[in-house]
């Protein structure tokens, strides 16, 4: 399931919103989850443990979309793409009496689905540190139980749909292909080929596994206290992306200054949606919440930003002029390399996009030098702007310069940097409409549309790492296929353009300060006092 190469750039086939039951307990099915369903355009919702059955009951009343149920005692439920190409079936106890005889039978009449995802909670991933292994408990028993035609077989034919086995007790987004002996029933399976027979042996089958929930017993790896909703997108190629969404960004909780207590208060006064809140006067909000005018104004402003997809500035502080936008791609969060530094010189429609990309695996320096040299031509007065730059990009680049180009470090550290996310959220200078702090979420909320699809930071890191490792371990003269760098660079370009779009939108946004007066003046000026 891991992409050997970049996923095709076709449009997503199906959007699932995975809902941990605990999120429904802590928040509300309506409007929190309902709001998230509409924000993500989900085709179906899938409640997952813990407390998935209680959550399912509440979701049935809260959303119009199908509620897939993998909890015990339920009949299988399905959701399919309109053309019947992809079918997801939630099968609480996948067995001959609950599943159709063959996966082909799932499709609408006269259509054979190309791809079927069976969701159950029949097997669970956990780590066993004392044996230094990760196991999928119950997988063998599960495979033994499902009808023959659903079993993985050594010779896949194009005639039958490809079946992916998904579990609500495997971490969402995790994909793995298990090599198992054909007669695997009755024994536990280790994950990965390390614990199985050598690949290619006669009696071996491949089982595609997909995580669509939360695993427990994963040590420090998984945040079992997380209540994040998981937006899972299934592509025609079989590729899957999963984006966590904080439920606190939906429903009344999405509004700034509204937490559990204030959401409860508002609900008890009959205010259930952000739109209702937006339409209240500042005085009414202040009275209802028993709070001051300033807080009440932030609440209504935020509600307005959320419902209208606009940015509202809440202070007279201004953005620095003449920005240079940058975005880095790395090999992970605890990065060892910034292999691509994308730069957009000018506005969102500028032609001046420069991808400084590592050309040779093992040389982390040349492209950094290139970037630093290019930077020398940029006046020091121009700020370098990165989304969440103070939390990621600027730090990574500093570390990279320190490690690989120490003679460029001082020059780099003397550059002006600016992080619009920090400026808006941490310094309370603007209210953003996105349902999360992610760049794409904020940009899309104000109407920006990406030019690439199917790639995210994690995918890009995986593709890069795979290439690097293949190239550095290759025999001399061996031909290592290059990834589609053009698409990866285009993905990075998408990000800097999204950033520029947001930046411009902030500049154009109305200022609504504590005085309550709308100020039509735009927010850019020459003062540079607001950033470091």
């Amino acid at each position: 399931m891991l992409p050997e190469h970049l996923p095709s750039s076709d449009t997503p086939l199906l959007e699932l919103l995975v809902v941990p039951g605990a999120a429904v307990r802590e928040y509300d099915a309506d409007p929190t989850v309902a709001d998230a369903v509409s924000a993500t355009d989900a085709d179906a919702v899938l409640p997952v443990p813990p407390h998935e059955n209680v959550a399912a009951q509440r979701l049935l009343h809260a959303v119009e979309q199908p509620v897939l149920r993998a909890d015990r005692g339920m009949r299988p439920s399905t959701v399919a793409t309109p053309d019947g190409e992809l079918v997801v079936v939630a099968a609480p106890a996948p067995a001959p009496d609950t599943l159709p005889e063959t996966p082909a039978d799932l499709g609408p009449a006269e259509t054979t689905p190309r791809r079927v995802v069976v969701v159950s909670n029949a097997f669970e991933m956990r780590v066993v540190p004392r044996n230094r292994e990760t196991v999928l408990d119950g997988l063998a028993a599960y495979l033994a139980e499902i009808p023959d035609a659903w079993q993985p077989s050594p010779d896949d034919s194009a005639e039958t749909p490809a079946v992916v086995h998904a579990s609500t007790t495997v971490e969402a987004g995790h994909t793995t292909t298990q090599q198992l002996p054909a007669a695997a029933a009755g024994r536990q399976s280790g994950t990965g080929s390390r614990t199985a027979d050598p690949p290619g042996s006669a009696a071996e089958v491949s089982v595609d596994i997909l995580g669509v929930g939360q695993a427990s017993n994963m040590g420090a790896a998984a945040d079992t206290t997380s209540h994040d909703l998981l937006h899972t997108t299934l592509y025609a190629s079989g590729h899957v992306t999963t984006t966590p969404l904080d439920p606190g960004n939906f429903g009344l909780h999405a509004v700034e200054q509204v937490g559990d207590a204030r959401a409860d208060t508002l609900r008890s006064h009959g205010v259930r949606t952000v739109t209702q809140l937006r339409d209240m006067s500042v005085d009414a909000v202040a009275n209802t919440l028993d709070t001051g005018q300033a807080t009440a104004r932030t609440v209504t402003t935020s509600a307005e930003a959320l419902t209208t997809g606009t940015i509202v500035r809440t202070s007279a502080a201004s953005l620095p002029d003449d920005p240079v936008f940058i975005d880095v791609e790395t090999d992970g969060l605890g990065a060892s390399v910034a292999w691509l530094v994308g730069v957009l010189d000018g506005g969102s429609d500028s032609d001046a996009y420069y991808p400084f990309r590592q050309q040779t695996p093992g040389d982390p320096t040349a492209h950094l030098e290139g970037f630093a040299t290019w930077l020398q031509g940029i006046p020091r007065s121009r700020p370098l702007v990165a989304w969440n730059g103070y939390g990621f990009d600027f730090d990574i680049l500093t570390e990279q310069f320190r490690e690989h180009c120490p003679d460029r470090l001082e020059e780099w550290e003397s550059r002006r940097t600016f992080d619009p996310l920090y400026w808006a959220r941490n310094s309370n200078n603007a209210v953003l409409p996105g349902r999360s702090n992610r760049l794409e979420a904020v940009a899309e909320a104000i109407g920006w549309e990406p030019q690439t699809s199917g790639v995210d930071g994690e995918t890009a890191a995986t593709i890069y790492t795979r290439w690097r490792d293949a190239a550095t371990t290759a025999d001399p003269g061996e031909d290592i296929p290059e990834p589609d760098w053009g698409r990866l660079e285009a993905y990075c370009e998408d990000d800097v353009r999204a950033l520029a779009t947001i930046y411009e939108a902030i500049g154009d946004a109305p200022v609504r300060t504590a005085g309550g007066e709308d100020d039509a003046s735009t927010g850019r000026q020459g003062s540079l006092s607001d950033f470091s």
Binding site: L2, E26, V127, T191, G219, A335, A461
Partner: protein
Amino acid sequence: MSDDTIYPTDDTQPGSPPDTHTRSSRPSELLADGGQNTGADTDTTAVPASARQDVLSDDALQRSFPDYQGQIVESRRLPPEPADTVPADDVLRSELAAQMAYDLFTHQAEALRKLETGDNVVTTTSTSSGKTWIYALQAARNHLQDDQATALCLYPMKALSRDQEQELNTKLRDDWGLDLSVGVYDGDTPSDRKRRIRNDCNLLITNPAGLNAYLPRHARDGGWARFYKHLELVVVDEAHEYTGITGTHVAWILRRLRRVAAHYDSRPQFSMTTATIGNPAAHARRLTGLEFGVVEDDGSPRGRRDIVLWEPPVDWDQVADDDTDGQAAPDGDADQLSDFEDARRSTGSEAAKVTAHLGMNDTQTLQFCSARQGTEIAARQIVDAADSHSRSGRVDAEAYHAGLGKRTRRGVENQLKAGQVDAVASTNALELGIDIGSVGATVTSGYPGTRQSFWQQVGRAGRGESDALSVLVGSTDAMDAYILDNPEYLFSGSVENAVVSIDNANVYADHVLAAAADFPLTDDDASFLGGHDRLEGMVEMWQDAGVLESTSSLDSLGGVVYTGDPRPQSRISMYGTRDMEYVVVCRDGDIDHDPVAPERAHRDYHEGALFLHAGQQYEVVDIHRDARIPRIHVETADTGLYTQTLSQKSISNLQPRDHRSLDGGIDLYFGQGTVDVTYNEYVVRTVSTGELVEGPLPTGSPPLTLHTDLLWVSLPADHIDTTLDRLDEPLLEPTDRAGRDPLVPEGEKRYTYGGGIHAAEHGVIQLAPLELLIDNNDIGGLSMPEHPDEAIPGPVWFVHDGIDGGIGFTRSIFDNFETILRRTREHIAGCDCGQRRGCPMCIMSEDCGNQNDPLDRVTGQLIIDDVIAALDSEAGSSDDESTSEPTE
């Protein structure tokens, strides 16, 4: 008996110096581990020696101590020791030596010399022997060599960090005139100050849990790179605190620290200090993975010190004893322990009387309370005891514990220093190096569990060459009883070994993940992270789990990158081995309670459980197991009741790692296995009589499975018969309760033998802490006449770590089994109780899941005798397969 003896026995220290002494020209300054240097005599609160020495004389006690019954069972006088010093300029460079108003103690000089040669040093001299000077001077030397040099100081508690910040600032800046900055960096430090400290600070003070969180920020928050690049000294203070599970976490955090430092080309030296422990070099090596030189010859002076052991009277008449054999079945559901609670005068109130008596005699006293006794209650008891003292006058007493606000604590510390309070009742919070000046006496209410801790408490009295007096008031359990019977234990031999293990796989796995988040893992990390094979296996496990980049390997360029949920280190609990722990929340007030691992939560914090914390009783009213952070909701209570949790336990999947085959078909094993335990029921009893009020009630605790370390003693199948044939006493009659409990062996023979093997199991667990720095709350046991495991032919008793994955406790018991077993035998045989079913001072345990039934002291001795005889003629077969620590 001379007039000036403080206790009613002869002065038994032949050749000890005369008890007059000249105050040393040595200032107390060099001793101030936690205090400011005033250069003045710190003995400001002391009273004239003659008055103090009279306080606990027989005459004085008979005359003025209410109802004195000869409670003093032992008293020792430790002679004074003069200071042993070295001129400062023998050791220090001249510009630093010139700042020293006084010579250095020999241990300080020795440590500094070792540090100068590049060695890591662990210093294990007594409390208040001036250990802070060692690392302060080393930091000063480093600074003079390179003004960019940095040092990292780790203290176990935040309160200590603040105290030491002041201390180090005074020394380094004010006294020695050095231009370097000291800063505390922890959860209480505001973020702008944190930024300044990262950017500028030379000496950064934090705690291990904080460091765990800050390590991955090395490349993120500006300033860390500078700090690590110039890191020359790492100080680990009070390292004896890091044992058990916390020790395991600290050991990995320190290895991660070394790895991050190496990333910046730094190889810092370690200067470690600990209270006196038996194995300083091994402990330091286990904690850091480095070799250490040991400094243990204390050059600091000491005044005369008197140690008094005080046994509260037991009224044996009050102990139910239906017949002379004491073997008849006790009544229905009465708690086997309860009679004893009544019969012995409460340790706490007895200690309060002693403290009050000292206070009345103008001796400022620090009373260390046991966990069960609240400091607030103790302070009140002291005041009350003074009111009913035969001399007129009053005593002011204050309470001190970590749960008090910072300002309150500081207030009490200052009152102590200024001599404004007669007595302070404290938890062990004041055991560590917080500066309280010098008190005249300490009273320890209940043996604190370890010699190390006891002497640490004793060391709080008398500073420098002033005299001091310390009293240990015994409580009602096996260890206290042993010590009062065998006082030599306190005074001779080495102190306990600190036990820390890096073998726990769960803890290791989590720190490997955290290390990957610090920066990507490569082969070079094997030396820091457990050796190549162990690291590679764990990396592959996490790759399969999808949280480490799966396409790369340790030898690939860029290494293995962490790809999981952000901040894995934040999900590591210093108190457990699993990712889940409970926080304790009080609904009607504040409670300062450490998070609770599930292993303890299921047993002691089920719904309806009553527990004591810092002297206050609480009831568990609600448990949110599925909350974002699992919570135990409690309310304050004052019920006169207590709860006792009953359990069902089974042990399976035994995998021996180490085996000693002994004579007579007896085998001693160490290994791993699965312990399934359900704390399924609890009963409620009255504190005063032990009478059953309610229950058994369901606890609601889910079953718990531990994969952990065990030792087991396997006996031949015919051992039941051969043992009972030798029994001179009648067989025990099963209790009513036993008849209803399917797990209790049926029939008088098996019941009696079961009581014997159960007694042996209890005895070993209860007395193990006499040898080892271990908390026997984290050890469990099980004994049975037969076991389903095929390799176990007959009766067996198990001892196991109560923490998933093991924490090295059972391993160290296995390694010291013979000593512990002999001690157990001696103690059980010698217990004054004379009860067949034993008493809390020998074989009864308040943690027993079977309500101490059956227990048979006599049969237990026969069983232990056989094992000791077998050990004596050991066949010598040993096949050690235990995990050995990787060499680094």
